[in-house]
């Protein structure tokens, strides 16, 4: 698992190096910080999605959840410009967590297959944005300056958006590697039956993963809308696939139980580097979709091959023994 992350890191560095041979400006720290900042939202969503996938589930509703929260805070800000921004972020965090809990409860209490439950909430949450806003946009001039300024504000050389992502990374890392709940995520997906026998409530663990994914989506909703200074129904349309792609490229197994914070970050960064590099090397942005598709297939094929050779080794040693 470690070697896989190393390989991905080497590929990303090689990619940046290759681009830098022709466009040295791309590898400058300032630009790399830009790429990191641009990828921050994807990284945060990928961390939440990873927790869900670890438990053998999937969350297709993250982007819709993000967009709904973005619309809610943008409308709150437009109507009550006096509300402090931290309060709005808290609203987004709680509402996002609640929407995640809806997914989690359906999977836990009603035993609905995760893909169906979140497919349903994906369309419901998107529709709710339309009902809420009446299809209208919340534009930059309707938002208060403080609302738009926060993610851009610089703190010790990095934008606040990047800092929020760093805090989220640390928090999820501590949660996954240093707490019983984090271990339960792995156990619930790695072997649900064994997890039950060791006293882990698999349903509750899954619900917790959905709440984490939802809470991160909520925060990202505010960040997305304030960063691009516009909120409308189709914000982040189809972004859930980028998030899942980041996880898969980062080595998170869709079968559950396998994945790491480092892998998810690198998977997101890989997509982020490609997205930012295409305009620099003068390739039409229309190539991006095909490239990320190819990367997903290559990454899954690599995962599958790694898992299969492991099986063969065990068989061989059993035969020789």
């Amino acid at each position: 698992m470690k070697s896989r992350e190393l390989l991905l890191a080497v590929i990303i560095v090689a990619l940046v190096g290759l681009i830098a041979t022709r466009f040295p400006a791309f590898a400058r720290p300032a630009n790399l910080a830009n790429v990191l900042n641009d990828t921050s939202i994807l990284i945060m969503l990928a961390l939440g999605q990873m927790a869900v996938i670890l438990t053998k589930c999937i969350d297709l509703s993250v982007a819709a959840n993000l967009a709904l929260n973005g619309m809610v805070v943008a409308m709150l800000n437009a109507t009550f410009p006096g509300l402090p921004i931290p309060l709005l972020m808290l609203v987004a965090l709680c509402l996002g967590a609640a929407l995640g809990a809806v997914n989690g409860l359906m999977v836990w209490k009603l035993d609905i297959p995760p893909i169906v439950a979140t497919l349903g909430t994906l369309t419901i949450y998107r529709g709710a944005i339309f009902v809420l806003s009446g299809g209208a946009w919340v534009n930059a001039h309707e938002m208060s300056p403080a609302f738009k300024a926060l993610p851009r504000a610089s703190l010790a050389g990095l934008p606040v958006l990047t800092w929020i992502a760093i805090v989220a990374i640390l928090a999820v890392w501590v949660l996954l590697t240093r707490t019983p709940l984090g271990r339960a995520f792995y156990a619930a997906g790695g072997n649900p039956h064994a997890a039950i026998y060791t006293g882990i409530d698999v349903g509750r663990t899954r619900c917790a993963a959905y709440i984490l994914s939802g809470a991160l989506a909520g925060i990202c909703g505010y960040l997305w809308v304030s960063r691009y200074a516009v909120a409308y129904v189709d914000v982040a349309g189809g972004f859930e696939l980028d998030v899942i792609a980041a996880c898969v490229i980062g080595g998170v197994s869709i079968a559950g139980g396998i994945g790491s914070v480092g892998g998810a970050i690198l998977g997101a960064l890989f997509l982020g580097v490609i997205k930012n590099a295409l305009p620099v090397i003068d390739i039409s942005p229309f190539w991006q979709l095909a490239i990320s598709g190819t990367a997903i297939i290559a990454a899954v094929a690599f995962n599958a091959r790694a898992e299969r050779t492991k099986g063969r080794v065990i068989l061989k040693s059993a035969e020789t023994a």
């Binding site: 497919l119 297939i297 094929a301």
Partner: protein, 330 residues
């Protein structure tokens, strides 16, 4: 030997009994929606309007039938809408090189077949989980369409080509609607009458047991992916013919609507059970809901809330009822 025969038999009747009641419920829902629509709008019962309404589901249902088989076998294909985009782009490209109608149709179907074979190879040869593999090809296929077309579009399809999506067999009965019924009948026979259909259920219920009982699991799954690709190609022919143009964003998001149709039709997303009859009714339910809401000027996105709730409700309800049942016994 007798034990081995009792187990699948019992599973079978229980499943089919459940399905029968499921389809009855769905049929009642379809009738209720039809009547509600007829009361809600004076324009609903017009034969031409009803004929137009069928276009809301015919193309999607063409893919939903093979998708039902694929999901019953325990796999899924999320790339179908992207196959439509790529097949349509291939047809548009051939058109710009001077291809006639027969060539266009062949190229549309052929592209679908190749895409299906590619998905099938990824899943059966490389052993990739189909949900991730087809998320990948979903980006790849549409990505290629974007590379070829960018923000441009292919237009100017020949008049003969328009027959598939705009033609009528007789009076208000469209070519697509006839195609829909032919495919429904063909897939019903394939799934419910032939031994191939039985193997699909067997694989979905227990792939290991199916393999050990001599079923060529890999080959059947590959064929199902091939079929899903081919009929996505057919849907691409019909949709392109109906719209008369190709853009890379064609049929965007259809994969979710098609899967909704299949699941609403009573096919278990976990594999192993479902029927074509259910998918046919689900197609009508979704088509009429969309059309009825459209007549009442309800925006499309509000309809999608209804469809999302419907999708969750139809799966949650039987589970809630099943949970109440043991209480009654106890």
């Amino acid at each position: 030997m007798t034990d081995a025969r009792i187990v699948p038999d019992r599973l079978d009747t229980r499943a089919s009994r459940l399905l029968r009641s499921w389809e009855a419920l769905l049929l009642a829902l379809a009738v209720a929606i039809f009547i509600a629509n007829a009361f809600a709008s004076p324009y609903f019962l017009d034969p031409w309007n009803l004929s137009d309404a069928t276009f809301n589901f015919t193309e999607k249902a063409m893919i939903a039938f093979p998708m039902a088989l694929l999901i019953i076998s325990g796999e899924i294909d999320l790339s179908v809408a992207s196959i439509i985009a790529l097949a349509s782009t291939a047809m548009g490209h051939a058109l710009s090189l001077g291809a006639g109608t027969p060539e266009l149709v062949l190229i549309g179907l052929g592209t679908g077949l190749i895409c299906g074979a590619f998905n099938g190879l990824l899943v059966t040869r490389l052993g990739l989980p189909s949900i991730v593999a087809t998320i990948g090809t979903m980006s790849l296929f549409r990505g290629v369409a974007y590379i070829v077309l960018g923000d441009k579009a292919y237009t100017g399809y020949p008049e003969a080509f328009a027959t598939f999506g705009q033609g009528y067999v007789a009076w208000v009965v469209s070519v697509e609607f006839v195609l829909f019924w032919i495919l429904a009948a063909a897939f019903a026979v394939l799934l419910h009458v032939t031994s191939f259909g039985r193997t699909v259920y067997a694989i979905g219920n227990n792939p290991t047991a199916a393999l050990f009982s001599g079923i060529r699991v890999v080959r059947v799954k590959f064929l199902l992916f091939l079929m899903t690709g081919l009929f996505s190609g057919l849907a691409a022919v019909c949709l392109t013919s109906r719209l008369g143009s190709t853009r890379p964003s064609i049929a965007l998001g259809w994969e979710l609507e098609i899967i909704t149709m299949v699941v609403l039709g009573g096919v278990s997303i976990l594999g192993g059970s479902g029927s074509i009859f259910g998918v046919v009714i689900a197609a009508f339910v979704l088509g009429m809901v969309t059309f009825g809401f459209g007549l009442m000027n309800v925006p499309g996105i509000v309809m999608s809330i209804f469809i999302g709730v419907l999708l969750i409700a139809v799966i949650a309800l039987p589970r809630l009822i099943a949970r109440l049942r043991p209480h009654r016994h106890a």
